[in-house]
Amino acid sequence: MSSTTIVAQHVRRTSLAKRHPAALMGSLGVLAVVLSIYSLKVGATEVSFGNVLHALVGDRSDQAAAIVFDFQVPRVLLCWLIGTALAVSGAVMQGVIRNPLAAPDIIGVTKGAGFGGMLLLLAIPGVPVLAVVPAAFVGGLLAAGLVYLLAYRRGATPVRIALVGIAVSAAFEAGIRFLLVRKPLDVSAALIWLTGSLFGRSMSAVLEILPWVLVLVPLIVIWARKLDVLGLGDDLAAGLGEPVEKTRRLLLLFAVALAAAAVAVAGTIGFVGLIAPHMARRVFGGKHLASIPAAALFGVLLMLFADMIGRGLAPPLEIPAGLVTAVVGGPYFLYLLVKTGK
């Protein structure tokens, strides 16, 4: 994180971002790849770069390489997918809701997905673990749908979506607590899931989120210009011939699906969807064609960093990645509040 911030600041000073956005984007990408490879090495056991290299070319003959291949590679891939999903989702929400503080956490997706997952985990003991993912996904979509419906009054004004989102999130939070109290069998496992963690995630989790990212992210990038138009305000956008409500609905649906998929596989990892789009806008400006891919890269960097810290800080204990993103993201968010203050 710190290195990216430094890069970001440096870039801003030389206004390289304005002159060579592609070069900067490229170097962010390179940074993410380097961090990925490095994070393969981090963990509770000694792994050399040689092992990592062996693993990367698919040679699993030595045991360390096998560890890397079986456990580290899926986690790094998940960091990429979840970071991208959350960050792009956040960028779209912030664009559509026209509020720099909007995020999947705000619009009810996170808590709704949490509730869906918990309902299944706690209410039906012995349910197959795989069933939690669709349950959480459905919960997230339903919560977001509820937010939209409740906020709808001759069109859903952005600010009302944000407000109703907070309230609906609180309602689902209440539901989660009710479930915890009714069935306190394994609270600690439920809490780990609610905090958001990549603990024990394998290739099957990668495959669960992959299609959503592969389909929705390119779609959103293609629609980036529509986001720019929406950003001009409802009246102006309508004047430019944009079917405002319809576009907003569709974009929000994409964003919600992305966030729900991320929460479903990794639990409620907070702040990534909130702060990654900000970093992107600060460096690359407000044009969504540039800021959405950049947000994705910042999201990936955040996730890689969080998971790496979580695994490497106090082995053999694993700190949930969601906590690390909260600790990093919280202060950044406070800083944002000050910066965006009048």
């Binding site: 407000l163 109290v181 909260a326 406070l334």
Partner: protein
């Protein structure tokens, strides 16, 4: 937009719509007070009589005043402190909510939304898990510290020191800070592998473990907070007219805000340290009362105190029916009751982006 007390820019139709409620009819206040008092007395009797063994209403007075049989002991050492604590906690949180809404000039400001409760809980849980030998009085001070740190930073950062802030901005700031603090608290709990019931208590809040000691810990702060709040009713009414108007009328706006915030922290910190983060009292009760008796703080604050007490009391009673014969924290019930009202409030907000 019945509830707003000089919030964000509002359209004129709202102001017109609101006027009749500011002019409070005395008769109405009397009726509301009567109803709340009847609910209070009925709730106290109900709360005292139900439990593992039913104590009939006719035996209540005798049991309260002379402790001989075991009924009387149960009543005096378990149910009475529980009922009293429910009333105290409810009063503290509801008045804190009303104060916060006045100070922040924001109908959505409430301790649980602004991160005050989450801050208090986080610091208390941190102390318990890291230094388990702490107990009693220090908990309340730690709770003050946490409440103050979280509340002040959210309010400052959301910019309330600089006049009016949009309720959305403030709510977003508070909710985000809360979620950060709650996830920190959860992780402390995970790594401590503490007992399930302690975990639920600090996540949900309730009065089911109440003893006279809790009441004694809370009472001085509650009295201080309530008296302070009631004494501030007039400045708060002036503040509701807007900063400029209040200044024009000779008010020291900054001092009123600072004092009000300090009282919020005392009330919330003390309540959370004995009862955990009982949700939504500070949001729901002042709102309901404002609808019923208008927004003059002279009547709003005392009635909120009563109403808050009644709400926590009834929530505690209902919580015994969630999973009989055992009990769940009352905070679950207040959360389930309060969340829909929060949704309703949020929907009704007139907002401008």
């Amino acid at each position: 937009m019945s509830l707003s007390v000089g919030t964000v820019p509002e359209s004129t139709e709202d102001a017109a719509h609101r006027r009749p409620k500011v002019v409070t009819s005395k008769q109405r206040v009397t009726w509301v007070t009567l109803v709340v008092l009847v609910l209070l007395v009925a709730g106290i009797a109900w709360g005292l009589s139900i439990g593992s063994q039913h104590i009939s209403l006719s035996r209540l007075p005798a049991a309260i005043f002379n402790a001989k049989d075991s009924d009387a002991l149960i009543l005096q050492s378990i149910r009475l402190p529980r009922v009293v604590l429910a009333l105290c906690v409810g009063a503290a949180l509801a008045v804190a909510g009303a104060l916060m809404q006045a100070v922040a000039a924001n109908p959505l400001a409430a301790p649980e939304i602004m991160g005050v409760n989450a801050g208090a809980v986080f610091v208390v849980v941190l102390a318990i898990t890291v230094v388990p030998s702490l107990s009693g009085a220090p908990t309340i001070l730690l709770s003050f510290g946490g409440a103050a740190a979280a509340g002040v930073s959210v309010m400052l950062l959301a910019g309330s020191g600089r006049g009016r802030v949009s309720p959305v901005r403030m709510a977003l700031a508070g909710v985000t800070a809360s979620s950060l603090l709650i996830s920190l608290t959860q992780v402390l709990i995970i790594f401590d592998e503490n007992s399930t019931d302690s975990v639920l208590f600090w996540l949900v809040g309730g009065v089911n473990f109440a003893g006279w000691q809790d009441v004694r810990n809370l009472l001085p702060w509650l009295v201080l907070g309530l008296l302070g709040a009631f004494a501030m009713a007039r400045p708060l009414n002036l503040l509701a007219l807007g900063d400029d108007m209040a200044r024009g009328l000779g008010q020291n706006v900054e001092r009123t805000r600072t004092l009000g915030s300090a009282l919020v922290i005392v009330l919330c910190g003390a309540a959370v340290s004995v009862a955990g983060p009982v949700a939504f009292i500070g949001l729901v009760v002042p709102h309901i009362m404002r609808r019923l008796v208008g927004s003059s703080y002279t009547v709003l604050l005392p009635l909120s105190a009563l109403g808050g007490g009644v709400l926590v009391l009834y929530s505690d009673i209902v919580s015994r029916y969630v999973k009989p014969p055992f009990e769940v924290p009352a905070g679950v019930v207040t959360a389930l009751l309060g969340a829909p009202i929060f949704v309703y409030l949020a929907r009704r907000q007139k907002v401008t982006s």
